[in-house]
Symmetry: C2
Subunit: 221 residues, 2 copies
């Protein structure tokens, strides 16, 4: 039995994940029109699974689908960044409150584990994607106990949108250190169930990335 790297998955799902990642990390220019045949060869799939992935990404909000004119990477607009950041702050603060109320010891364990992985990833500043993944998982773990699947779904979607803007900015060790100190502090506040303190810090935490992205976004176009 050969365990291929794509065992149990459809080609469509694989392209979806690969394209999603590439869109968030900024592989394509904002506003760029996607050349479908080029994508076909790049991701090594046929037309059908590729188009299915593109349709899913458009429904998710990482692509825009124009009437009979194919798919386009959404433009970066300062106004939209502010919308995303503001809403993300509100929704994550909601989820945080609920997670602090519902969270059990299993939640605490998962949070500590995620925080540890994030610290370790921080020791290897050159491996950016590992840190990004650990970062995403940490935030998921922090809010995971909120008890509302739909809230978590929307927060995840906003997080992806936010990251598209945040990752425009070049890596900055100083800011990353500050962010990681905030992550550690959030864990302490979570264990202490300090809702007010954690909400304030989460707000500050998002605001910091927001400001960095903002500077980059207003400079770009």
């Amino acid at each position: 039995m050969t365990t291929s790297p794509s065992a149990g998955t459809t080609a469509s799902s694989q392209v979806f994940e690969a394209l999603k990642h590439d869109l968030i990390r900024g592989r394509f220019a904002a506003g760029e029109k996607l050349a479908i045949s080029a994508l076909k060869t790049h991701y090594g799939v046929g037309l059908s699974p590729l188009r299915e992935a593109l349709n899913r990404l458009a429904a998710y909000g990482l692509l825009e689908q124009e009437n009979q004119r194919g798919f386009r990477v959404p433009a970066m607009r300062l106004e939209e960044l502010d919308d995303i950041a503001g809403l993300r702050t509100q929704l994550e603060c909601m989820a945080l409150t609920q997670a602090f109320q519902n969270g059990d010891s299993e939640w605490e364990s998962q949070l500590l584990a995620a925080a540890h992985r994030l610290r370790r990833a921080d020791e290897q500043p050159e491996r950016i994607e590992e840190w990004e993944q650990a970062h995403l998982r940490f935030h998921r773990a922090l809010l995971g106990a909120c008890g509302s699947p739909w809230l978590l779904r929307f927060i995840g979607q906003l997080h992806d949108q936010f990251d598209r803007y945040r990752r425009m900015a070049p890596p900055n060790p100083g800011i990353r250190t500050t962010l990681d100190e905030q992550h550690a502090a959030l864990v302490e506040l979570a264990l202490a169930r300090d809702i007010q303190g954690a909400r304030a810090l989460l707000d500050t935490h998002i605001r910091l990335s927001h400001e960095v992205a903002r500077g980059c976004c207003s400079a770009a176009p």
Copy 2:
């Protein structure tokens, strides 16, 4: 020049809209597995546009996509209904507050127009779909001035999910009259910019439909 009924639209988008409507109004049984070839003939399209529509609907949350096992209508779960209703209340109250702060006279005009259409639709109780459409537009008009496209997007998505549960219940003239009185009252509160009063009424408004759907949902499975 012949103006076909589908001018300027792709087959894919048409099936998407038609299927979305049928899923919300409950044409398919909850938990049912969709027979793709049957859908093909029913909606009169080929495989490719149909699959693209199914993929979009899965990303939107109106279908579940299992690994290599096709598409399934999500089950109706009381727990999920409560999640949807609770989150919808919170997000709509957020948007309502912002709409009351940002809304200009154009917003007031659109709201009055939507309210009028809804009253007229209410006079024809047998034309259910017309009322449904007017109802959806009224709620969109009420919150449309909130200034946050992403918040409106999520609210629309939750509204669709909520309606899937709400429409399980058989039409009830008494409840519909109560709902429409609340709509009229919401317009008055909007014009008066009474945020507290409107939030309270919107909460009551959603709670009423929630309770009706709840009774139907717990009885069904």
